[in-house]
């Protein structure tokens, strides 16, 4: 067999000739390592901890591990560079799986902090035994004997915490990977727990199950697109490493573009699906609506951060030399995303669906920043991700508090007159709405300004994108203003809607989310500066 296989391999020198141990910079990968070990500890706790203590221990393990990982980023930041791989002396190529650089560490930090807030909102119990938003047996019908049996057997919902930590691990890995295969693995690691979490809503179970299945099926499709694109790009460059890909594009003959372009498009489809860009957005409203609300907030903030990190790396490191070939398609996607997201958000009557369409529109705005193709663009995108993420976690946390008869009141009409009965929650939510709309003195304004100014600075296309972006923002202002008017200037519905008093944990994440939104609007300089300094990719 060697005779037959070796000739085929000889012109495909992907692997080094002899075994060499990988060079691993353990300090640089420490945040990832800590998060993974945290998830494993969570699994062990789930297996061996007595039931009554499990919830508390799980939450402390998850939050503690994520905090430790966030702290370890400081040390990692002084160990920038490629790691987890080796440089091949004979061909002078660096085959490294991970790129620990500014954008990667910035996004890891952002995902960790937002993940902590997400875990805290998920841990909300409202005085019950387990997390309030989750059911112990996701496959059952609410109130059915199956569910009762599961409850009686002592099934708990504390598994959501290890699942979340696994998802966070995947999300941190996603913008850090330096090759297509690693990126695919990270994509799956972050997606699979989210599929499960989506289906675990305690109330409106059918909607949740439907959302989970939709998310899973469409996610599987997009993963398949990503893999197919990976195969084509591998066929084009003979390597899955971004460095090889980039140099192959600048040297390979034009005739090979038949592989390059479809490959690039398919890989982008897989990534754009995760951020919910039009026309790959169909899952977003359904999943955002069906998933347990804390999960929706976590997903909206962290998945977006991770996926935009991956898009940035692919666009700026892997396929940068072929930019002229594919950037027009991305421009069209950005335009469509902004327009469709903002126009359709006008027609929404459900609060979670409204926020979902708003998140689609925001994905479009962030894409405008990606398409600036320079360091200011990267910095603006990083800033936007943090600003939007903190606001959206707080917003969904507030949505989870507004209840009617114990169930979440997500229909817009149920929110009427909320400002009179519950001024604090309503004004916090109104403030977050203003941030989403991009009103000055909120983080939304600063982030939009940063993104659009980066786009204008990049040329004519960028200017067009920025103009459309501003117009779309104007449309969304109407949507958010309508919500505010509804809350403060309408009569309350006949049946009483209440705002449940949350525990300290949810209060903390709402407060932090809202305060960050305010702080980044008033004094954005330090984070803008940090994002700018972190905007250099390593190759």
């Amino acid at each position: 067999m060697t005779a037959a296989v070796l000739p085929a391999l000889s012109n495909l020198s992907t692997l080094p000739a002899a075994f060499q141990a990988s060079e691993v910079n353990y300090v640089a990968v420490m945040p990832l390592f800590i998060v993974f070990v945290t998830a494993l500890i969570g699994v062990l706790v789930e297996a061996f901890m007595p039931r009554e203590r499990r919830h508390r221990v799980q939450v402390s393990v998850a939050v503690g591990g994520l905090l430790a990982a966030a702290v370890s980023i400081f040390w990692a930041s002084s160990n920038l560079g490629l790691t987890m791989g080796l440089s091949d002396g004979s061909t002078n190529r660096s085959l490294f799986a991970l790129a620990i650089d500014g954008p990667a560490l910035f996004l890891q930090g952002a995902i960790l902090l937002m993940g902590i807030l997400g875990v805290l909102t998920m841990a909300e119990r409202f005085g019950g035994v387990g997390p309030d938003a989750f059911t112990p047996s996701g496959a059952s019908t609410p109130g059915s004997p199956v569910e009762t049996a599961a409850t009686r057997a002592g099934a708990l919902t504390s598994e959501v915490f290890p699942l979340t930590v696994f998802a966070i691990f995947g999300m941190m890995l996603f913008p850090t990977t330096n090759d297509l295969i690693g990126m695919f693995v990270a994509l799956e690691v972050l997606s699979l727990p989210l599929y499960i979490l989506t289906g675990l809503a305690r109330r409106r179970r059918l909607l949740s199950q439907e959302a989970s299945l939709k998310y899973f099926l469409l996610g599987a499709f997009s993963s398949a697109f990503f893999l197919f694109g990976t195969a084509l790009l591998y066929g084009y460059a003979g390597s899955v490493y971004f460095g090889d890909l980039s140099s192959a594009i600048s040297t390979a003959p034009l005739a090979m573009n038949g592989l390059l372009l479809p490959g690039a498009f398919l890989v982008f489809v897989g990534l754009l699906f995760k951020v919910g860009a039009v026309p790959f957005h169909a899952w977003t409203p359904d999943v955002y609506q069906g998933a347990p609300t804390p999960v929706t907030g976590f997903m909206a903030a962290c998945t977006k951060a991770a996926a935009f990190g991956a898009i940035l790396r692919l666009a700026y490191v892997g396929l940068d030399t072929a930019r002229w070939e594919w950037s027009n398609a991305l421009v069209i996607v950005a335009l469509l995303t902004m327009v469709v997201g903002s126009v359709l958000s006008v027609t929404q009557t459900d609060m979670k669906r409204l926020l979902a369409y708003s998140s689609i529109a925001h994905a479009g705005f962030i894409l405008v920043g990606v398409l600036a193709f320079d360091r200011t663009g990267v910095g603006a995108v990083l800033f936007y991700i943090v600003a939007y993420g903190f606001s959206t976690i707080a917003a969904f946390a507030i949505v989870s508090l507004v209840r009617q008869n114990g169930a979440e009141a997500t229909h817009l009409s149920q929110w009427a007159g909320l400002g009179k009965a519950h001024p604090v929650a309503a004004s916090a939510f109104a403030f977050l709405m203003l941030a989403f709309a991009g009103i000055p003195l909120t983080s939304g304004f600063v982030s939009k300004f940063a993104v659009f100014s980066a786009a204008v600075g990049s040329g004519a296309t960028g200017t067009v994108l920025a103009v459309v972006g501003v117009l779309c923002s104007a449309i969304t202002v109407f949507v958010y203003a309508r919500v505010i008017v509804l809350m403060f200037f309408s009569e309350a519905p006949a049946e009483k809607v209440e705002v449940v008093t949350p525990s300290a944990m949810t209060t903390f994440s709402i407060a932090i989310g809202t305060l960050t939104t305010l702080a980044l609007g008033v004094v954005p300089a330090s984070l803008l500066d940090l994002a700018d300094r972190a905007s250099q990719f390593v190759r």
């Binding site: 067999m1 060697t2 409202f126 005085g127 019950g128 035994v129 387990g130 009762t148 409850t151 114990g406």
Partner: protein, 476 residues
């Protein structure tokens, strides 16, 4: 299966294979037609062996049960199997009305075909002269030969599951599912037990593994793997005491209940050829393959070891395993399905994993990964690391065995406890007869007993979940 194939692509595609990983058998002087001749030879060898082993099994079991066994057709009844085969061919081939016709026909063919394929990489002997060419007594060998056997075995499972499903009947469906679950469960432990062999031989090629055993058969250093393999190979082939797929008392014939005539005979053939395959693999991996046994190889500079002699030794070792199969069938009853699955998943898998880790450490110590210092003991030079690692492994194994035994003794003691003097026959709501020597308690009025409700909700989830629980309990 596809995973196995993927990995096999991965491993097969690795460039710069060091010489030891590749087959040591030299096929350079083997033209394609000669390979075909050898394939036909192996095929005939297997068919004849199958005919013989069925007779052998019936005769030996007969002896074990104090009766002669088949002795009418041919000398000693040797032609009995052939007669049975002919009879099967002349019987009506029934396809049930509800069966999926195509798959129903295809399933037995898959099982029979796949059983033969794995034998292509088994070395039956050393290098011989055949039609003017010098060639190994082996159809072919590849760098991932053992993995190929496992992959082919996995494809063979499709025959079982498809047969069960396509029959359109209850018993075959259940039997097919059961035996699929059984085969794949035991395949894990089997696959893990082989890792130790690869660690020692540094190759997955069967000929390389055989030649690596020229000084020491792997049954000694990998004794535990051998034990695990011996158990799992019985589970893999659906043989007694693990033939749960066809428990007559519960599932009639299992997945082949609906089959008749030659299609049934194909399953029969597949089962016996599979027995030969797993036994041949055991021979190759643990008993030195076709190499002569130690004392015979010492005679006259191994004059009975090379060439065609290998076929003799190989066949002898192969039939040793066949005898074990028959012996097991003659002496052991069938195990219960849950016990069987528990044994596979909760005992074999973890303990084989631990064994693999132990072997990896021992091997690492032997290769000097853990330090190079040596000590001399009884005239032999030993590596300190090896001694330390082996003692650690031995201590852990002894401690585990001790704890295990202790627990078992405790459990046994707990079970032996005398039953209480008094018994309330309606304690759990169902009437229970008293054991010998037990008295019945005075019946209590039902209403005076404590209320049923109020205990279970302590661990239930809060909020609306708790209220539904309570409601359920009140109504239920």
């Amino acid at each position: 299966m596809s995973l196995a194939l993927t990995a096999y692509g991965m491993v097969g595609g690795l460039p710069a294979l060091a010489p030891t990983e590749n087959p040591t058998a030299d096929f350079s002087d083997t033209p394609l037609w000669l390979a075909l001749v050898k394939a036909v030879g192996v095929f005939v060898y297997l068919l004849i062996s199958t005919l013989l082993v069925i007779w052998f099994e019936r005769r030996v079991i007969g002896r074990m049960q104090q009766r002669p066994g088949p002795n009418r057709n041919g000398p000693f009844g040797l032609l009995q199997t052939l007669a049975d085969g002919m009879k099967a061919m002349l019987k009506e081939d029934i396809t049930p009305a509800k069966a999926e016709k195509v798959i129903y026909t295809l399933a037995p063919m898959i099982t029979a075909t796949m059983a033969f394929v794995a034998f292509a990489i088994i070395p039956l002997g050393g290098t011989v002269w055949m039609f003017g060419h010098q060639t190994p007594l082996q159809v072919t060998d590849v760098p991932v030969a053992v993995l190929l056997v496992l992959a082919v075995a996995s494809v063979g499972v499709y025959g079982i599951i498809l047969a069960g499903w396509s029959s359109g009947s209850t018993y075959p469906l259940l039997g097919g599912l059961r035996s699929t679950a059984q085969v794949i469960s035991y395949e894990i432990a089997m696959g893990l037990s082989l890792v130790a062999i690869f660690l020692y031989s540094g190759s997955m090629s069967t000929s390389a593994i055989v030649s690596a055993q020229s000084s020491l058969w792997y049954i000694l250093p990998a004794f535990f793997s051998f034990a695990v393999y011996l158990i799992t190979m019985v589970g893999e082939t659906n043989r007694l005491p693990f033939d749960l797929a066809e428990g007559e008392g519960e599932l009639t014939g299992g997945f082949h209940t609906e089959y008749s005539s030659m299609r049934f005979a194909m399953f029969f053939l597949g089962e016996y050829v599979n027995m030969f395959t797993v036994s041949a693999l055991a021979t190759t991996l643990f008993l030195g393959g076709w190499q002569a046994p130690p004392f015979i190889s010492a005679i006259n500079d191994n004059m009975f070891g090379g060439g065609w002699w290998g076929l003799l030794w190989f066949t002898a070792k192969l039939w040793l395993f066949m005898f074990i199969f028959v012996w097991l069938r003659g002496s052991l009853p069938r195990v219960r399905y849950d016990q069987f699955m528990r044994f596979g998943w909760k005992f074999l898998i973890p303990i084989t994993l631990a064994w693999v880790v132990a072997v990896a450490f021992i091997r690492g110590a032997q290769l000097g990964f853990l330090g190079d210092s040596k000590l001399t003991f009884a005239g032999r030079e030993l590596s300190v690391a090896t001694v330390v690692i082996v003692s650690i492994v031995a201590v852990i194994a002894l401690a585990a065995a001790w704890i295990w035994d202790d627990r078992r003794a405790q459990r046994a003691a707990a079970e032996d406890e005398a039953p209480p003097e008094e018994i309330d026959p309606f304690e759990d709501g169902y009437p229970v007869p008293p054991l010998p020597g037990q008295r019945l308690v005075e019946p209590r009025p039902r209403l005076a007993a404590e209320p049923v409700l109020s205990t279970a909700s302590s661990s239930s989830a809060g909020g609306s979940g708790a209220s539904t629980t309570l409601k359920e309990e009140t109504h239920g």
